[in-house]
Amino acid sequence: MILEATNISKSYGAIEACSDICLSVEEGQVFGLLGPNGAGKTTLVKIFLGLVFPDSGKACINGQIAGSSKARQKTGYLPEQFPLYEWLTGLDFLRFNARLYEVPTREETGAITRALEMVGLNGREKDKIRGYSKGMQQRLALAAAIVHSPPLVFLDEPTSALDPVGRRDVRDLINRLQESGATLFLNSHLLSEVEMTCTQVGFIKHGRLVACGDIREFMQPGHDISLEVEGLNPEILQELTQREKLVSFENRRLVLRVEDRKEIPVLVDYLVRHGSRVFSVQGESRKLEDVFLKLMQE
């Protein structure tokens, strides 16, 4: 395990930011931590980086105590808010970070060039940061987080300041980092983003980790199909509810849960035989948003 947390708790007065959190992330995974605002996501990441001291519990990164200099050497971090030294040039900022991460001098230029290329900022590195757009600043902060090629990268809302193209670029970057063997720990509000990039997810609510595991486990159980239907009588709806097939019915849009694709023609036939007129059928895989909302409402 590249990251292992055991019984991490942290309170701010009466507010429990993290409560007895146990978590482990394997090497090479892209872990997405999901939760509503104030759930404790950022606090947990900050504990892993030694920016916040836990009240109890401990975390290890690559076998080193989280927060120690040796552990931080193995991590990259893009904070949610990423104010930079605006009076520096992008190149100076990356050089400064490379030195903080003790990148050998002879490798410094190569490491900076590689990081700039990865975030798509090459050509602008000699400009002052104060002249960068918000998106460019986020890219630069991201470059600073990976300039030393860390095995574990924490990204706290990495696309919050980016336009759709920038978001796609970050997704590509996450994929490239994963391909290069890095492990990524992603905090994001954007569920679709997590869905597209993460291999593992954890759901945090009021400081407690309420669910954690392979993202496929959360997405797998059944497919949803959406049908445009007219003439649906209440008895059929009741029957579908009893058979645990009904997800929702609103404005002629009937959403049913099926365990196997073979059930789809059977259900359509059933509806038609009972007097319903089916205009369209669309398959929908179960979305992370549904899982998220269900877990948060429980």
């Binding site: 900050k46 980086l49 030694g50 920016l51 916040v52 001291f53 200099s69 040796k70 931080r72 050497q73 991590t75 971090y77 904070p79 808010q81 990423f82 104010p83 930079l84 030294y85 009076w87 520096l88 400064f96 970070n97 903080l100 991460y101 003790e102 600073a144």
Partner: protein, 276 residues
């Protein structure tokens, strides 16, 4: 440390401070020039009077320097850590493999080095002007010793404001720094006047303010180092509030060194235990 150097050089307020300091030196020089134009001094009838006027103007200038250096040290030190915390740029440092004591020490050393250069240049300029224009005869060793003592001034203020900066906001740290600086100056006046009229209560008031921020003690020690070896200046030392009647004890020198170290240790401790 290098980053702190660059940051200061890039700060407009620091550059503005340096510009105003240059203006101060220029005006001080013009002031000295006009003092020398006074009929009593111009005739050259009284070398003694000219020397006394020179020493008087020198202590006045050095006292102003003490305030300027103090203000600059408050300005630099009060935001050294807290400004980065307030803007969030501190995350660029504390999330990297750099120990927190190293961050505080780096900030302090960079601020101290720049403030000492500023201090030595300012005090040196004022001394040079007064010595040159009034033909004051001061032993070079005394000048160097005086400058060394003067350079303790920013170190003292910086250690206090750096500590405040690790646990308070920039504004609060700045207010505390300025208030204590002014308090130390007023306390210094009371102490000197108390010594002149032999009032131990007034001297004690000065000692207490020096315990809170020993900048006045540093200033008196520096002035004493600079002028005590000059026989014609010794009479001047006790005649103005800028001279030395009550000389800080050897214990106070030790206290100043401890003051610097203790506040630095507290700053490191405060910063190392803080959540970000």
């Amino acid at each position: 440390m290098v980053l702190t150097f660059k940051e200061m050089i890039n700060k407009r307020v620091v550059l503005l401070g340096i510009l105003l300091t240059v203006l101060f030196v220029v005006f001080y020089g013009i002031g000295l020039h006009f003092v020398l134009q006074a009929p009593e001094l111009k005739k050259g009838t009284s070398t003694f009077l000219a020397q006394q006027a020179g020493f008087q103007m020198l202590t006045l200038g050095l006292f102003c320097c003490m305030f300027l250096v103090g203000a600059m040290a408050v300005l630099v030190g009060s935001g050294s850590i807290s400004r980065e915390v307030e803007t969030g740029t501190i995350l660029n440092l504390v999330s990297r493999p750099l120990s927190r004591p190293a961050i505080v020490a780096g900030k302090y050393l960079a601020s101290a080095a720049l403030s000492m250069v500023y201090s030595v240049m300012l005090f040196g300029s004022v001394e040079a002007l007064a010595i040159y224009l009034f033909h004051l005869k001061i032993n070079p060793t005394s000048i160097i010793c005086g400058l060394l003592f003067f350079s303790l001034l920013p170190l003292t203020i910086l250690s206090l404001t750096t500590y405040c900066s690790t646990v308070l906001s920039t504004l609060a740290a700045g207010v505390i720094g300025f208030m204590l600086l002014v308090l130390a100056i007023i306390g210094g006046f009371i102490e000197q006047f108390g010594a002149f009229i032999h009032s131990s209560a007034m001297v004690n008031v000065g000692v207490v303010t020096s315990l809170l921020l020993p900048t006045d003690a540093v200033y008196r020690l520096a002035i004493n180092q600079l002028l005590s070896s000059v026989p014609s200046a010794s009479i001047q030392l006790g005649l103005t509030p800028f001279g030395v009647v009550s000389l800080p004890s050897a214990g106070m020198i030790v206290y100043i060194l401890f003051y610097i170290i203790i506040f630095l240790v507290l700053a490191i401790r405060g910063f190392s235990r803080r959540d970000f």
